[in-house]
Symmetry: C2
Subunit: 130 residues, 2 copies
Amino acid sequence: MKILVGYKGVNVGKDLIEIAARHALAFDGQVIVVTSMIGGSNTDPTEIKVAEDNLAEIQSFFKEKNIPCEIHLLVRGMEPGEDIVMFANENTVDEIIIGVRSRSKVGKLLFGSTSQVVILQADCPVVSVK
Amino acid sequence: MKILVGYKGVNVGKDLIEIAARHALAFDGQVIVVTSMIGGSNTDPTEIKVAEDNLAEIQSFFKEKNIPCEIHLLVRGMEPGEDIVMFANENTVDEIIIGVRSRSKVGKLLFGSTSQVVILQADCPVVSVK
């Protein structure tokens, strides 16, 4: 079983990676953690560096639990939702896990467009974690 | 592990219950299948009968696989999304599985409001199945 984790690149969503670890252990699966950034003038190089560091930290977390883990930073000019779905299809993953914690400026919980695209367009089940 | 399946009451979403069975087996869990209807003048009594029959059929499916399964038809005047979240909290479930296959009249895939409410308001991970 291949589990793709869509990771935003900022902070390390602890709930997200813990759920992913639980699923990987239960299904004897492997984890692929992906951060998607548009790139070009849309993406600040320091954001890319932060995402790389966070991905490396996440990979260590899984390695410590003996869970096979690949990390990928995708910078190919695509919106993150479509990019994650395309990557999932290219790699025939069985499940996608994403975080859906987005808040508006006044603190209202919002449904991020990336999450919506992934949930509606993915060919496999999508696990949403707050 | 308690897995709540939010089931609309019409058709038997085969993908939905197969994913639920796979999760229940992997996590050695039990399944609670819930259909929520508002009731009163909002709900046609024949819809309730159809939902009851479908729930019974779903229960047989899990029983055949030796997966513990409860079924509940909730008719308590609440919108289905809020009802499912409240029931999940009352029963301290660990995961909710829902179907997100809704189409507009012109065939466009839509994000149903019930799914959105469940994904945003649930206290546990939510698995969306198309």
